[in-house]
Symmetry: C2
Subunit: 410 residues, 2 copies
């Protein structure tokens, strides 16, 4: 049985590095705090009999031997990196639940059938190095290691260089082929409002919705804000603003909205950033999602069409480039059944589709994968106010433990 | 008579520092290039018998003695700083016209009645250190020297520190009281399309339109772009986008537009700049102008009212702060008459109102001031493509010379 106070103590212990005065977290991938929490994770899991593999993209596999060590391990994974305005649960809870399972096995002197691995995947958030789920994506060969290493942050620093700097480019190849796992479980806060509204501590995740990221560049013409008549302007920021409003309008039209469509622009860079020079170039990133691949495609079609109209109206030029695509995913039936039966023991009978991407999306490409969602207050995430009750953290870990043992048995 | 090839050579000589590969200029106030062109300006004007006063905000007065040196000098001023995407004429032409007048006096052994001063005003553009016309504004006691020194750029570096670093905090107090001038002439490119359309090389400036700058902060709530339903968001960037579109709509409504209203947002900073975190805070600057103070007031009223509606709709908070106000200005009649008669000799009979602010706005608060506009191609300014024909530069200088000599005589 999971130890509620111990697992909650471990969550906050792991938040010693990168916490912010508002109670949240800012631990961007491969910064000094990420290095420290990685060191902590390795030291901690050593205490429970783990040896470690670190791969070329910095994923850490803490492996506790089983009875049959010729089998690949059953993995329990998530991530320790956070958003710049992140909370203490997103990702962290999943890794700590894995550590808690190790502790329960260890204190009860249980040797599992297959080995078990707790995995810290690199750069799940994609906040510093877009796109997200990069570490698990490289391992799943959805991206090359080279691609992963060459992702850059806003300052132009590459992930490869930063991993080298903090000593986390491992000797293991980052691949499910040479470093396989048998299955992947992941506990994660829901980051949405459903479990909170339904008053359930945990739920079974059906799958993950369709997601697509885009990079847009709008080019106008720099000109004087005071002396340039309104009808002689090519204002790139006005064009970008109209596109932001339009993307929102499209995602909230009745049909698409009813089926759960979402569209967001959260990153904007305008140039030359002078109060009295009309913006000549604006870059924005568009994030579009829906449970249905075809709805994302439809939103993209409408955006492309209507953004071009904005450009025509204002004499602007547009480049509209896809930078990341993750089609809708359904998790493995056997794995889900293990989660389902374990969850039912706690009276948790809800099934949900994830609005957020998770490392489980990429592991599911090659191995049986399932996820457990834990309720979080008001569905708030990517915010320092993100909060999950101690008893719910324990409930999530308990569902994981039951599901994991069932699968190990199976 | 003005020497056309000499004045154009001097323009390009002065653009040796801070020019960009696209043929434009990027010489932000108090950077290394600004220091170099200031050194050049002092060396150059020394050749024509000038001594120099540098004041506490870095304004440089190159003074050539006259017959009656108990009189303050008649000033010819403009600025050598540029926009980040600036051209080779905005400001520069005005200073170089002053230098050319000195050359003409010098080569003809003319001793004017009053002394003459060519002035390089500090930070006219306000691009690096908002607001604009800061050097002339401090001299005119519209701002304190302390206020000027404490303006900061986007990196938080202050103008005072940068002026000290480049050695241009002068010993002269920055004040029209202790360092007076008798009058102020300024040649400037029009930065608008009128002279170009009317095929006139130069024109008389009636005055300068009303201008106001604002700083707006929109506060929403960071949340996950994937898991947060569209109707549970407080998206600060969506709110800002709606305000940008709304400001544009207001300035282009029939009545306001017919009277020449302009509204622009060109600076935007969104936080936390992560593709999958809804923006929690956005800062924008609004620039509003019109020939009529009451139209700027009316646009402000409508913006305040309608931006609040945007905030209500999206659960946002708004702070809406005025950071700079410059009411409409009419130049001095006697000075304008001098420009008018001089311009007529070249067949230039057009009178225009300036859409851009100029140092002459602040000098006009205390001394007779007038301006001469020179045609620029397509009215394009604050853009590397800004261009004024060599013969038009010479025409502007010729009108200046005639006007200045008339006033010196008067
Ligand atoms: N769990 C989580 O917040 N992941 C970030 C990936 C996404 O944008 O959905
Ligand atoms: N001349 C000029 O571009 N000045 C900048 C001040 C303004 O914004 O109007």
């Amino acid at each position: 049985k999971i130890n509620e106070s111990r697992i909650n103590a471990t969550i906050h212990e792991s938040c010693e590095w990168g916490n912010t005065p508002d109670g949240g977290m800012n631990r961007l991938t491969a910064n000094d705090d990420d290095k420290r929490v990685r060191d902590w994770f390795i030291a901690k899991t050593k205490e429970y009999g783990c040896s470690h593999k670190i791969d070329a993209i910095g994923n850490i596999f803490a492996i506790r031997p089983g009875q049959n060590n010729s089998l690949p391990p059953i993995a329990i994974g998530s991530h320790l990196d956070t958003q710049p305005t992140g909370g203490r649960y997103d990702g962290i809870l999943g890794v700590v639940c894995g550590v808690e399972v190790l502790k329960v096995l260890h204190e009860n002197n249980i040797t599992s059938y297959a080995p078990v691995a707790v995995v810290n995947w690199t750069n799940e958030e994609g906040a510093r190095f877009p796109p997200c789920m990069l570490g698990s994506g490289v391992w799943a060969e959805q991206f090359t290691t080279e691609y992963g290493h060459t992702r850059v942050d806003l300052a132009g620093i590459s992930l490869g260089d930063e991993l080298k700097r903090i000593g986390y480019v491992g000797s293991e190849a980052a691949s499910f082929r040479t470093n396989p796992i048998l299955a992947h479980f992941e506990v994660h806060i829901e980051q949405g409002p459903i479990l909170d509204k339904e008053e359930k501590p945990a739920g079974v995740v059906r799958g993950v919705q369709s997601m697509k990221w885009y990079n847009l560049k709008i080019t106008g013409r720099e000109a004087h804000t005071g002396s340039t008549p309104m009808d002689r302007r090519s204002d790139a920021l006005l064009g970008a603003a109209k596109m932001i409003v339009e993307a929102n309008r499209i995602a909230t039209t009745r049909d698409l909205a009813d089926r759960g469509a979402r569209a967001t622009i959260a990153v904007i860079n305008s140039s030359p950033q002078s109060i009295n020079t009309i913006a000549g170039e604006v870059q924005i990133n568009l994030d579009m999602r829906s449970p249905f691949d075809e709805d994302v495609a439809e939103m993209e079609r409408q955006c492309r069409e209507n953004f071009e109209k904005v450009c025509e109206e204002h004499g602007l030029k547009l480049t509209f480039e896809t930078i990341w695509t993750s089609p809708a995913v359904n998790f493995n039936e056997v794995m889900k059944q293990c989660v389902r039966s374990s969850a039912l023991e706690l009276g948790c009978n809800m099934e949900l589709t994830s609005g957020a991407g998770h490392d489980s999306v990429y592991t599911s490409k090659h191995v049986p994968t399932a996820m457990i969602f834990v309720r979080c207050r008001d569905g708030v995430s990517h915010n320092p106010a993100e909060y999950t009750r101690p008893e719910d953290c324990a409930a999530g870990a308990q569902v994981l433990l039951g599901a994991y043992l069932r699968y190990d048995n199976y």
